[in-house]
Symmetry: C2
Subunit: 143 residues, 2 copies
DNA sequence: CTGCATCCACCGGGATACTG
DNA sequence: CAGTATCCCGGTGGATGCAG
């Protein structure tokens, strides 16, 4: 028995491999910082445009508008306009949008739990860098 | 009864708001498509550089190298070099890296389950766009 | 085979100014 | 208040070439 070299657990292989391809588009849509921030803000209930803007602080009008619009397109956020003067617009998570909070929480847990480990790993890596840097393999002269 | 307008569930408010800030750095690191693809590929066991490259197909050397290096920095992937000729390098998920699969799965589930809903929402939105487009509010003339 | 270095095109996103 | 339109810069990432 035993073949040449391919130890793939074929059972799960395609699952994990193909599986991750499916996450990409979703991740591209909902994975950027502004989207996460906006969804996070709206998770407390409906909000007006400027409320969100002030809450997030650092986001540009442009990005807020774009983010909200794309969220609306994807059916994650609903937009309600009151044609009063001055105008008022409320944004609110849809059921779909709220359902997104679940995986987001999962990510959040992981982040909180493992952030320290990652930072530690970074520093450790930096040190190793320096050490091996002494006998660094330099092909071309540093300019 | 009923007050003016602020229905905030203050209990969870800061949690959700502050909470999402913590996810940002993590998301920035592990949230891009290449990282996800690489982690997904490695979830089946250790792999060599070119194995990954061929498996992912579409990734440039540059991006693969950069992604792997940053993953190594963060302690998510371990790198083992065999100074043979030709050289051989194995990449493998660390425990930390494997732990990442959990939230990734969560995201994957959500993606698979709600992708259709999002697509549907998109098309619906496109239609509404057209309709309201007739009485579109155009301030400046389109050049 | 594994990987760095360089050049370069693209566009994400900030600042600003203007409209309804 | 709630956006829209424009300019513009920095970073992301692809293609190529070269070295251990």
């Amino acid at each position: 028995m035993s073949d040449t070299n391919i130890p793939v657990r074929a059972t799960e292989a395609s699952d994990s491999r193909e599986g991750c391809r499916e996450v990409i588009p979703t991740l591209a849509r909902i994975g950027d910082k502004w989207t996460v921030m906006v969804v996070g803000s709206l998770s407390n209930g409906p909000m007006r445009y400027n409320q969100i803007a002030r809450l997030i602080e650092g986001i540009s009008q442009r990005m807020l508008t774009l983010t909200l619009k794309s969220l609306e397109q994807d059916g994650l956020v609903s937009r309600t306009m009151y044609p009063t003067i001055p105008p008022r617009v409320d944004y609110e998570l849809t059921d779909l949008g709220r359902s997104l909070i679940v995986p987001l929480r999962s990510l959040h847990s992981w982040a909180v739990e493992h952030q320290p480990a990652m930072l530690a790993a970074r520093e450790e890596f930096a040190k190793r860098e320096q050490q091996t840097g002494l006998r660094q393999t330099r092909f071309t002269d540093p300019k």
